[in-house]
């Protein structure tokens, strides 16, 4: 048994590189930050690669809607982590992208693939996004593709006699276990359990031989924005960054809890 796994993802400003607000006229512009593959989608990708490796003959593709110049930069890192094919869509990827047009673009790109076997299709993606936690894009992609088996906040998937055994996060720190007869299905991932794979330039070189031509030919997508934003303001936050060494996790947690209570 093998799968056609397609991971949907976008980009987000590197969360480790948040800019320090500076007073004065300079506008905080997070799009100037280095971008990363959206962390939620990245978890989905790691899990997808793991599943593909377990199921010989499986194929792993990534549909990514993002400005292609930024996407190229991000692929310099992501392409080293695991083998996959990239289907880039050149378009916006930020907190002002609306879920409807975004899902339309992603689903359209999947439908346009000439060689997708829908009976083996698993569509993976992030449960939500680091740029905007709408949490609905993957469901809408599934609806547009006519896939009704949808699982949200997935942390684990196993294959058991051809069926998918899926753990979804539910309230109270619990997991709900479902059994799905098989593909097609949409799995919108939470964090999963796999760590970020280490960089492997040889894998990257192999990936980039196909990714660079794909990036150059990436179709421009300008999703019609159905939402107008009348005003945007940054939350007023008091930043208290502190760098500490040799502090145990328990001590950090205790300190955070105290701070929250205050």
């Amino acid at each position: 048994m093998s799968f056609e796994i397609i991971v949907c993802g976008g980009l987000a400003p590197d969360p480790l590189q948040t800019l320090e607000p500076v007073p004065g006229p300079a506008l905080k512009n997070e799009m100037m930050l280095p971008a990363v593959f959206d962390p939620w989608a990245a978890h989905a990708l790691y899990e997808a690669a793991h599943l593909a490796a377990q199921m010989p003959g499986s194929r792993l593709r990534v549909v990514c809607l993002a400005p292609k110049a930024k996407l190229q930069q991000v692929m310099m890192k992501m392409a080293q982590k695991l083998p996959f094919e990239l289907i880039p869509l050149d378009g916006p990827s930020n907190g002002f992208s609306d879920a409807g047009p975004t899902s339309e673009a992603l689903a359209g790109a999947i439908q346009a693939l000439p060689d997708v076997d829908i009976s083996r299709l698993l569509v993976f993606g992030g449960w939500e996004s680091a740029t905007r936690g709408a949490g609905v894009v993957m469901q809408m992609v599934g609806e547009r593709l006519g896939i009704t088996e949808q699982f949200l906040a997935v942390d684990e998937v196993k294959v058991d006699a051809g069926a998918l055994v899926i753990k979804e996060r539910v309230e109270g720190g619990q997991h709900m276990v479902s059994r799905c007869a098989g593909p097609p299905a949409v799995l919108a991932w939470a964090t999963g359990s796999l760590p970020e794979p280490p960089n492997h330039p040889q894998t990257g070189m192999a990936n980039m031989r196909t990714m660079m031509p794909a990036l150059q030919k990436a179709a421009a997508v300008a999703p019609a924005n159905g939402v107008a934003y009348h005003e945007v303001a940054l939350p007023k936050v008091q930043r208290e960054t502190r760098i500490v060494k040799d502090l145990s996790a328990a001590e950090i947690a205790r300190e955070l809890a105290t701070w929250v209570k205050e």
Partner: protein, 741 residues
């Protein structure tokens, strides 16, 4: 000429230059293989390496399991294999000089010892890669290539560091090779004795490429030989060197006494008249090796300077935050020490030096990438003519210098004025092209090693001082104190500063280099015309002054009649070499920013904020160019005037000085007539109170004009610095340093 495209902009730097900017500046925007390598190395540098440094891994001289674990990280991240060709387990096509420089840069951003450790393996392989036989290359590259489930062989390079205080001259090899056995019809067995000092990677090396001299009349000259840990005899790794720096690299003083078959001689050998004749002596091999690897060392120090920028800005801004006495929102709270001009001005100097060094180092590395294939083709063509290395090759190449200069002349012309057919012929001649690039490489390589590390170490001290007492603690963000100390070693190993100056004093007078140098002056004038404000024009004038001075020194004598520019007159040659380094570094920086200005607007990833970034980087160029011009001006003045004897009141010409009253009378008759002389005798017979008559040098009018012109070229450079310093107070930086992770 292109019309002026420079439009003053009010934009300024918004964020610190990221990878997308660096890729264009350093001409790797089309090299995704290198971009990936950078990401991969960075993850190791700012992850495991940074954690080890933060955890106190540098505090012991011993090669610990924690340090050893970095080797596996290097293997997994593709750092070890980056040196290999694809058919030997590598993944990068073509020459690797630029790739190795980028690896060094990324690792040294956090810890230069880690960079040294990774590069020392390449250094051990380099003699085999550059001059080894095909069999040696295939065998050792295969052994050294990492692979799944395979622990690669690691090497050390042992040249000639003598044990101190035992009367050994550094120019002599401390190893000997003799013939232990040579049975009729069989391969000779060599006995190699080598004591090394300060040998990197020796704590774990599986093989050593060692330079040794013949200790047997049946072996010709010197050679390099491969020694393996399993060879019969003594393979004593020696005690760890008690070095104060680069503690993440393994360094020890090995004692090697081993028997090896003669086919381990690097490059092979022939037997003539019962004598072993190595194909290459050790000098030919190490020249091929060091001229490349020295560039990476220079790049390491520049990485440190650039790595210091972000922690310094953060420290200065945050300096007074958290104090109850300084309320949020007040200028003192928001800007901290950046309210003080000195802080921002000094940081601009550090940043500018780092940019210039990186630009120079990467330009040199790219130049070697261009040169590598040309060299191989040149050697092949010479071999077809029966010329195989050594003096014969040097003579053959020197005869072609005329054509190399002709090519440069043609290239400097507008295409419409060129003899296009002749130009194309010279451009496609690999020997001519190799001569041109070789002449530049022979200057840029030692310049990178000398200036980046030597001046870089001074500037790194400045960076430490800008961190206050924090700077010299282990907890200093960015490990600035450690980086400062490490820089001193970088200035020393792979040829200390005097060696680089010595090399420059020869190569910078090469006629092919000087022909290029003249074209560089015009190139900078044109750049200054297109984009005023980079200091390109200032630099061009300084370059003219340097050239004038070199010519003057080469054709004049000192007050004693001794020749000024000669090999052993290091008081002349070495400062002039230092001055040249300032010039080539500043030039490289300007050219990189010019390239960004040309290419950047076409890159959608750069458009946002590009104007401000360009403005700031140009300001840095201007600051650095002015500094370089000042240094050159100082050095040239000292050399041009300094070897003349100052006139004395005792000199014969002073015996005929006018008397004061004579001048007064003359002035009464012809007002202004006394202006022709500044020296006179007072009524009491004494001269005025000074050391002697003011020195006058009618023959140096051209030099004086150049100096006056250069002084004028400094106009505006401090205004530029003010603007750049202002940008430092507004630039947005990450909330915290991204290492250790």
């Amino acid at each position: 000429m292109q019309p002026l495209t420079h439009a003053p902009t009010t934009e300024t730097l918004k964020t610190l230059p990221g990878d997308d900017i660096r890729q264009v500046l350093w001409r790797m925007e089309d090299r995704y293989d290198l971009a990936m390598l950078v990401q991969s190395v960075r993850a190791v540098a700012r992850g495991p390496v940074a954690r080890l440094v933060a955890g106190g891994g540098r505090l012991t001289h011993d090669w610990t399991p924690e340090k050893n674990a970095l080797l596996a990280e290097f293997d997994a991240a593709g750092i070890t294999a980056a040196y290999m060709d694809p058919d030997c387990g590598g993944y990068l096509e073509g020459p690797k000089n630029f790739a190795l420089a980028l690896i060094a840069f990324e690792l040294a951003w956090v810890d230069a010892g880690a960079a040294t450790g990774s590069l020392a393996g390449c250094l051990a392989l380099a003699p085999i890669h550059e001059k080894g036989t095909p069999e040696q290359k295939a065998h050792y590259m295969e052994l050294a290539a990492p692979g799944p489930g395979k622990t690669p062989w690691r090497g050390a390079f042992a040249l000639t560091e003598p044990i101190p205080f035992v009367g050994v001259e550094t120019g002599m090899l401390s190893g000997r090779v003799r013939i232990a056995e040579w049975n009729e019809g069989e391969e000779p067995i060599l006995e190699v004795t080598k004591r090394g000092r300060f040998i990197t990677n020796m704590g774990f090396a599986n093989f050593v490429t060692a330079a040794v001299d013949s200790g047997d009349e049946r072996i010709q000259g010197s050679l390099m030989v491969i020694l393996e840990e399993g060879d019969p005899g003594t393979f004593d790794r020696g005690a760890p060197t008690k070095k104060l720096v680069h503690q993440l690299s393994s360094t020890s003083d090995p004692v090697l006494n081993l028997r090896v078959p003669a086919h381990r001689i690097i490059g092979g050998y022939q037997i003539k008249d019962g004598k072993i004749m190595p194909t290459y002596n050790h000098g030919e091999i190490i020249e091929a090796v060091f001229r490349r690897t020295r560039v990476t060392v220079g790049v390491m120090t520049s990485a440190k300077l650039l790595s210091a920028v972000e922690p310094l800005i953060r420290y200065h801004r945050d300096r007074f935050r958290g104090s109850g006495a300084v309320p949020p929102g007040s200028p003192r709270y928001e800007f901290g020490l950046q309210m003080k001009e000195d802080v921002t001005h000094r940081l601009i100097d550090i940043w500018a030096a780092g940019e210039a060094g990186a630009s120079l180092g990467f330009a040199a590395a790219r130049l070697f990438d261009d040169l590598d294939p040309l060299e191989r083709e040149r050697d092949r063509l010479l071999a077809e003519q029966g010329i195989r290395g050594g003096m014969a090759a040097l003579k053959a190449l020197k005869r072609r210098n005329v054509e190399a200069i002709e090519f440069l002349d043609q290239e400097a012309k507008l295409p419409t004025l060129r003899d296009q057919e002749r130009y194309e012929a010279l451009k496609n001649d690999p020997i001519v092209q190799s001569i041109v690039l070789d002449a530049a490489a022979n200057v840029l390589c030692p310049a990178t090693k000398l200036w980046n590390t030597g001046y870089g170490a001074q500037v790194m001290r400045e960076a430490v001082s800008l961190m206050g007492g924090y700077g010299i603690t282990e907890d200093c963000p960015g490990f600035l104190g450690q980086k400062w100390m490490d820089a001193q070693l970088e200035a020393t190993y792979e040829g200390p500063e005097a060696v680089q100056r010595r090399q420059l004093s020869v190569t910078m007078t090469n006629e092919v280099f000087l022909a290029q140098y003249r074209t560089w002056i015009h190139e900078l004038r044109r750049a200054g015309s297109r984009h005023p404000g980079t200091g390109a024009c200032t630099l061009a004038t300084a370059m003219e002054m340097w050239l004038w001075t070199l010519n003057h020194l080469q054709h004049n004598q000192d007050a004693e009649g001794a020749k000024l520019y000669q090999g052993n007159r290091q008081g002349v040659t070495f400062p002039l070499a230092d001055a040249l380094c300032w010039l080539v570094a500043s030039r490289a920086q300007i050219l990189d920013v010019e390239h960004l200005a040309e290419v950047g607007p076409r890159n959608p990833a750069l458009v946002d904020g590009l104007d401000g970034t360009l403005q700031f980087l140009r300001d840095l160029c201007h600051v650095q160019a002015a500094r370089a011009a000042g240094e050159v001006s100082r050095v040239c003045s000292e050399l041009v005037f300094g070897y003349r004897r100052h006139p004395s009141w005792e000199d014969t010409e002073c015996q005929s000085c006018f008397a004061e009253n004579e001048l007064t009378a003359l002035e009464a008759l012809v007002p202004g007539a006394s202006g022709f002389t500044s020296e006179y005798v007072l009524d009491d017979g004494r001269h005025e109170s000074k050391a002697g008559p003011c020195a006058r040098h009618e023959d140096l009018r051209d030099f004086a004009k150049l100096r006056a012109k250069l002084d004028g070229c400094m106009t505006g450079c401090q205004l530029t610095k003010d603007r750049a310093a202002g940008a430092l107070t507004r630039v947005m930086i990450p909330a915290a340093l991204d290492y250790p992770q």
